[in-house]
Symmetry: C2
Subunit: 373 residues, 2 copies
């Protein structure tokens, strides 16, 4: 047995109860759970249940302050800077994007930048909030340094994802992507599966290519050097300096605009310090919003209808896979890796929750100890 299948409702109940046990209000627990489970429903398993252990450890170590409330410390009609007071990233992110949406509806567009937050789950959740309101949404976050800039051997930037969502028919454009080749969460999954990493993903502490997920992850935590390559790879030949540049774009909207910590200074000495950036744009500021959505939908359809490469059956537009995964998982349930289920059981034990009631009577023979500390 390498995974256990749960229904959405089962996982929601488990997750909400766990976050209430941590000390969040029922309303807050629902918000946090909604972010985490959208990730699993969208098939982005690296950022859903798989990440619970990080929130568990974050709260345990005092990086995440359960009672903290985000505070607007500066604002204009088109902007806000939010001090997160080391609160839970999802709660801060939702609040910040709500402010960006409100301001964009009044002023046409707005940027909100956040400092001193924590990991906020998938960046796309917040971009989607704007698209659900008919706006174009952008969401970015920095993180513990994992990206090794071109010609360096030390991680200096985070996975620094940029997410963009925009309304379209029959489903919205939804792009959510780290500016590294892959996310740290992807390495964590390879580590749980004991699989070697593909070429072109990661570097060891000497800046040399490395396929050992466990070693790379340990080096990231220990800040020993190495990490994940920027999108475009190790050198400039295939554009590694471009992935590094998009990582900088993310850093500008997150840590630079907010006056928070750049990725290389976060997660040092018992301090988190994650920063986020959000932008919302009302399509009405360009005139014909309805016509715009129609034209955009037509373009997306043209992309899907384009001639396929030999051996390829379909061309996806961004967000399509997530829509299909969502429908499938709501109907058929969500497969959770046995090692992640083991972490969920540990969490039950820690919080005094009855693991058999929440997770069933699971056989953990195939589970291995998580490498995450």
């Amino acid at each position: 047995m390498s995974s256990v299948r749960y229904s959405y409702e089962q996982l929601k109940t488990f997750c909400c109860d766990a976050f209430e046990k941590f000390g969040f209000t029922a309303e807050e627990a629902v918000k946090i759970t909604d972010v985490l489970l959208l990730s699993d429903l969208y098939g982005i398993e690296s950022h859903g249940m798989q990440r619970l252990v990080r929130y568990h450890k974050g709260i345990e170590k005092g990086l995440i302050h359960v009672d903290a409330k985000p505070e607007v410390v500066f604002e204009t009609p088109v902007s806000a800077v939010i001090e997160g007071h080391d609160g839970m990233g999802q709660l801060i992110g939702i609040e910040a994007m709500k402010i960006a949406i409100e301001k964009a509806k009044k002023s046409g567009m707005a940027v909100v930048s956040v400092r001193n937050s924590n990991h906020y789950g998938i960046a796309g959740y917040y971009a989607k909030m704007a698209a659900d309101e008919g706006l174009i949404g952008f969401s970015m976050t920095n993180s513990e340094a994992i990206m090794v800039p071109t010609y360096s051997r030390l991680a200096m930037l985070g996975s620094n994802p940029i997410a963009i969502s925009m309304p379209a028919k029959p489903y919205p454009f939804f792009f959510d992507s780290s500016t590294t080749v892959v996310t740290r969460g992807k390495l964590e999954i390879y580590n749980k599966l004991s699989k070697p990493l593909p070429d072109g993903w990661a570097l060891d502490e000497n800046g040399k290519a490395c396929s050992d997920a466990s070693r790379v992850l340990a080096n990231i935590v220990g800040k020993n050097g190495g990490g994940i390559m920027p999108l475009g790879g190790e050198t400039e030949t295939l554009g590694g300096h471009k992935g590094y540049g998009y990582g900088m774009l993310c850093e500008i909207f997150c840590s630079i605009f907010s006056g928070g910590l750049t990725s290389n200074h976060t997660h040092i000495g018992g301090k988190g310090g994650t920063c986020h950036g959000f932008m919302a744009i009302d399509p009405d500021v360009f005139g014909d919003a309805k016509g715009m959505q129609e034209r955009f939908s037509t373009f997306l359809q043209e992309l899907r209808d384009a001639p396929k490469a030999e051996g390829c059956e379909r061309i996806y537009t961004h967000g399509e896979k997530e829509i299909f995964a969502y429908a499938d998982r709501m109907k058929n349930g969500i497969d959770v890796n046995i090692n992640t289920v083991a972490e969920m059981k540990n969490l039950c034990d820690y919080l005094g929750m009855d693991s058999v009631k929440y997770l069933g009577d699971v056989d953990f023979t195939d589970a291995k100890q998580s490498s995450y500390k």
Copy 2:
């Protein structure tokens, strides 16, 4: 002889006179020349003198209307949509970014989207205009389709560059990069040098890897299939869907916001239709603009000072190479490939300019016929 060295002043005189001969005013010719020569001075030789032949052909074929003036067709305090009336891209781009800068100074930020323009040179020129005024500048453009989306075998998006510039000490952050692995201009240079393309750059008409620059360029012009890979390559393993996604971001700001043609519909049937997108953000909307610039400059210095990969001597921040190239070329002159000089001579002949006076008595033995039609 594979190149000829000219001073900045020589090239400026040639270029200004040539554009005046095409029918532009002296003031317009200076603006166009300034964009083109900044590219050569920055070492981005693909977008300077090397591209003159495209403007020549564009004007000759009627794609570029010399007398057209950009027209604001919709605006709000934070936005504008500009109809380019098929004018010269550089003139439209400068006007559009000026409007974005003015609006951002009043409203805090602004987006300007342009339709029915033409190739506007390096995207970074316009981002730099905003940074020169103390703002954060963004510039994007679509183009004739050259990017093959993941799992397709037909180019559907342009090179779709995204440029970002932000003030910093001792020099600004300046990131200007296509969302394809490389630009078409880079393929044109390999073609002029008769060099095979590196692996991971281009696809032939069947969607298979191809190192023949001449074949790929001919296929792009003939719309026969194939083209350049998105940043991240051919498949999702190294993140090709991410480069495709950043290409979509560019398309949204350019063709979708403006109601213009998406890349796959530009340059068909005697119509150009290139679209641009610009954004400017005033750092004052986040409070402490001076402190922000200091913190950003510190981060850039930390990146340059980070431990180097084995065998690497320095880590660059974006825009550094351009600053060094600029200083070198203003002092020592600009090397222009002999094939490009041959194109410049053709242009002199076409416009009735004395090529020996402008370009010197050049030995064209090593020049080959340009493949561009």
